[in-house]
C-alpha cells in the first residue's frame, strides 16, 4: 500500500484489532504559514468546524452535528476516497483556536490523534498554526512501513501543508 501524498491518495485504512492500544512513541507535527490577510479575515474562513471542505483541497464533505459546540462530531469525506470522524474538544472564538480528536481507524495511518488549529496576528497579516499529536497506525512492535512512525508523520504533515497552502491562496486572492 504505497501512500504518495496526503489525503488525496489515501485509501481507506482499516486499522487492525482493538484500537485502544498504541505504539510507544507519540509523534508530533507543527506546521505554520504566514498569510497576508488579517487574523479576523483568516479566522472567518476556518472558524466553523464544518467549514473544512471550503478550504482544505482534499476534503469533499465535512458536516458537523453540533456546529462549534464541544462534542460536535464532523464526518469527513475525502475527495480521493476514505473518511475521518473528528470530535471537537475545545473551541475558543476569541483566541481563534479549536482542538479536535480523530476516531481511530480513519483515513490516516495514525491512532490517538489530536489536533489544534489557531490563527494569530503577525504584523499587518496573520499566522496560522496547525499542530497535531498522534501515535503511528500500527500499535505493536515492528510496524509495516506504511504504518510506522515516519509514515504517520508524513501523512499528517501532508494534510497540514496542503490545507494551509490552500488557505493562504484563498485568503490572499483578490
Amino acid at each position: 500500500m504505497q501512500r504518495r501524498h496526503l489525503l488525496l491518495s489515501l485509501p481507506a485504512l482499516t486499522l487492525a484489532g482493538a484500537a485502544s492500544a498504541h505504539g510507544p512513541t507519540r509523534q508530533k507535527v507543527t506546521e505554520k504559514i504566514s498569510i497576508n490577510a488579517s487574523a479576523d479575515a483568516v479566522w472567518a474562513r476556518i472558524r466553523n468546524f464544518d467549514a473544512l471542505k471550503d478550504w482544505h483541497p482534499a476534503v469533499a464533505e465535512s458536516p458537523a452535528d453540533k456546529g462549534n459546540n464541544e462534542g460536535s462530531v464532523r464526518q469527513l469525506k475525502l475527495k480521493g476516497g476514505g473518511a475521518l470522524t473528528e470530535t471537537l474538544e475545545a473551541y475558543d472564538d476569541t483566541k481563534k483556536r479549536y482542538s479536535y480528536r480523530a476516531k481511530d481507524g480513519g483515513a490516516l495511518p495514525v491512532t490517538n490523534y489530536t489536533s489544534t488549529i489557531s490563527v494569530a496576528a503577525e504584523g499587518s497579516g496573520s499566522v496560522v498554526e496547525w499542530r497535531g499529536a498522534f501515535y503511528r497506525g500500527y500499535p505493536n512492535n515492528d510496524p509495516p512501513p506504511d504504518q510506522n512512525d515516519e509514515a504517520a508523520v508524513k501523512a499528517v504533515t501532508g494534510v497540514y501543508q496542503a490545507g494551509l497552502a490552500n488557505l493562504k491562496k484563498m485568503a490572499e486572492a483578490r
Partner: protein, 326 residues
Amino acid sequence: MRRLLSCLPMAFACATAAAAPFAYITNQGSHDVSVIDLATQRVVATVPVGRSPAGVVASSAAGKVYVSNPDSKSISVIDMRTQAVVNTLPAGEGPVGIDASADGRWLLVADWYGQRLLAWDLHTPGRTPLVVPVGKAPAGVAAHDRLGVAFVAERDDDSVAVIDLATARVRSRVRVGTHPFALLHDAARQRIYALNVQSDDVSVVSVADLDNPRVVATLKVGKAPYGAALAAGGRLLYVTNQHDDTVSVIDADSWKPQRTLRGFGYPEGVAAFADQVYVVNWMDDNVSVLDAASGRALATIATGKNSRGFGAFIGAPLDVSPSPVR
C-alpha cells in the same frame, strides 16, 4: 517524592559545592536526556541514550538515573556524577514506566508489550530481572516506600496491580478510572494516585491495606492527565493535563482544586524540588519552572525534541565525592 524531600537536603548539606540536584529529561524525538542543574537552571549535559527514551527515574540512593528506551527495548543507566551512560540493560518488549525503591535496591520497569513487570535487584548486579505477569498495557509503575511492594497501572484493564517482589506475584488489584497511565505513590498518606487519561480524572487509592486497595476519591482534572507530583512539602498535588495544555493544582489533604495553570504545551512529566515545580512540555520542547506555592511561572528551559520526563526525574547522588562533577 517522599524520598526526594527527605534525601535531597542531606545531599545538599554534604555536597553543596560538588553537586546540586539535577533534572533528567528524556527526549523521545532526539533520543537523549537533557540534564538540568537545578542550582543554575541550565542544561549542563545532553546524554545520548537508546531509541525514543520515555520513562526515567533518578535514584539518589543508587546515584544513578535509569531511562527506558521502548524502541530499543533497553534501559540506559546514567551515572549522576559523570552524566554518562555506564550500562545498558535489555528490558523486554517495550519498557515504558520506571521507578526505583527508595533504598536504591529495586529497579522496576513496566514492559508495555510484554504485559509484565520487570524488577531488577540492584544489590546483586548481573542477575536477570524478576518477571511478574500483569494486565494489559502496563504503563506507570511506583515503588512502595519500604515493603518490597510495587504498583503497576494496567492501562487497558483500567486497574492498578499491587505486586509482592518477594514472591513475584500480583497480591491484589483495584479497578480505577479509564486508562490509568501514570502512578504516583504518596507514602505519607499511604495512597496511590492513578491518572486516568481517558476519564480525565485521578483515582485516589488507599493502600493502607495492601491486600485490599480501594478507591477513596476520584478527582476531576483536565483532559488526558499524564503526570503527577507532590509539591510544597507534600501539601499540593500537581497534575499535568496533556490535551488541555494545563496543570491542575489540588490540595492533597482536602482534595479541593486550588487552581488551573495555563500556558503549557502538551505537558507530560512533572517533578518538584524544594519550592519549585518542573513541568515538561512535550509539544514545546522545554521545561517550565513554577513556584510551587503560587503556581507562578518563573522560567523556561529549552530541552531536546519531544520531551517526556515520564517519572521521578529529579535526583542527586547521596555519596558525592569532593571531585567536581564532569
